[in-house]
């Protein structure tokens, strides 16, 4: 069996991708225009694909025969290690967009660092995924600018979305023992370095969107350790229903 920290780290990546994908799937057929409908569904599919690869890798590293479906469908809330940011409800179009943008800037740089890590399995998934997420980020940043620098109403609503979700961004950069172990033992991402890059990049876009960066404030955390907001349970209840009611069902 491989190092526990590496397995736990891979599962966090998988859970992030799956939970965000699930939130995006809720928006299918609810987007304001057809182009966004296609964009959202395509991007959600990318995340589900990435989640599958990370879960499969985690199962392989763990060596206990757990499949991607076992991880996705047969674990409870406290076993999920996704960021709190990603399980927050979609809200209106701007809320979902801001959540998407703030995460994707982080994720692109996390993946970029992982392409250089010493675990070959993780590095090759990162190299595959970064191509997709770079494209997502371009899309979400363009919307942020268009709506922030749009009408008075869209500007105010984007500012409110940014203020609302900001407290969930700190968790991305708070390195715990697992982050540190992967950084040290596998040449993984340096979260402090990524935080600085993230802040610079986000500031530039937010500025171009004529919005203001929320100031320093109390940051929520715990998702990475399995302590979630009340929202995750509802996501899992819907997602896991079939496998819980009919374990092992296939079609």
């Amino acid at each position: 069996m491989k190092d526990q920290a590496l397995i736990a780290y891979t599962l966090r990546l998988a859970d992030n991708a799956l939970v965000l994908a699930q939130r995006m799937v809720e928006l299918v057929a609810a987007e304001p225009e057809l182009e966004e409908e296609l964009a959202n569904a395509n991007f959600a599919l990318d995340y589900i694909g990435q989640a599958r690869m990370f879960y499969t890798l985690a199962g392989h590293l763990e060596g206990r025969g757990r499949s991607e479906d076992d991880f996705a469908f047969m674990r409870d809330e406290h076993e999920f290690r996704n960021l709190l940011l990603l399980e927050q409800p979609n809200g209106h179009f701007g809320d979902a967009l801001v959540r998407q943008y703030l995460f994707e800037v982080f994720y692109v740089h996390q993946l970029e660092a992982l392409t250089r890590c010493s675990d070959a399995g993780l590095a090759e998934i990162a190299a595959r995924a970064i191509k997709e997420v770079t494209y997502h980020r371009r899309h979400s940043s363009q919307w942020l600018i268009r709506l922030g620098d749009g009408t008075e109403l869209s500007h105010d609503r984007m500012q409110a979305s940014l203020n609302d979700v900001w407290r969930y961004t700190g968790e991305m950069f708070s390195a715990d023992a697992i982050d540190k172990a992967v950084q040290e033992d596998y040449s993984g991402p340096d979260l402090e370095e990524i935080r600085q890059i993230w802040l610079r990049e986000v500031s530039t876009t937010v500025d171009e969107a004529t919005l203001e960066l929320p100031g320093d404030q109390w940051m929520a955390g715990g998702g990475k350790q399995g302590k979630h907001s009340e929202h995750l349970g509802f996501i899992l209840a819907e997602m896991q229903y079939l496998q819980r009611s009919f374990p092992g069902a296939t079609w």
């Binding site: 182009e35 990435q50 599958r52």
Partner: protein
């Protein structure tokens, strides 16, 4: 021989996703996915399996590799011509995309997204035909 399920004029060789074929006592085919979430991945693997079985091969191993990640640069010259004939503009490094119907460069992007993850929607302002463009990846 095995077509791409979403763009059936292209074979998987044209698409450049067959990375290796090893014929020993059985046959091992190494494939790489285009996009992480491409729903065609499993369908393609099943088609390869079936095609080999139909040719009397019994021992078949299908391997899926991620590295190096697939890029549109691996679409063959022949594949590009087939796409064009089919009415899909092949991936291009230029910012101007030629209309696959009339060859005009007077074209505009309608949407970055199309009927599948790999395509964008364009329109020709000369012949007014809408067309799809295979995005660079």
């Amino acid at each position: 021989m095995v077509p791409d399920p979403e763009i059936p004029v292209l074979s998987i060789l044209d698409l450049g996703i067959v990375r290796d074929v090893d014929v020993d006592e059985g046959v091992t085919v190494t494939l790489t996915p285009t996009y992480s979430g491409c729903p065609a991945t499993e369908a393609i693997e099943a088609s390869v399996l079936l095609a080999l079985k139909n040719h009397g091969v019994d021992e078949i191993v299908i391997r899926r590799v991620l590295s190096p990640p697939w890029t549109t640069d691996w679409i063959t010259e022949e594949g590009r011509e087939k796409l064009l004939k089919y009415g899909i503009a092949p991936p291009s490094k230029h910012s101007e995309i030629a209309c696959p119907q009339c060859n005009s460069l007077q074209t505009e992007l309608v949407s970055e997204f199309g009927s599948t993850a790999c395509k964008a929607s364009w329109r020709c302002t000369d012949c007014l035909e809408p067309f799809e463009y295979f995005k660079c990846l």
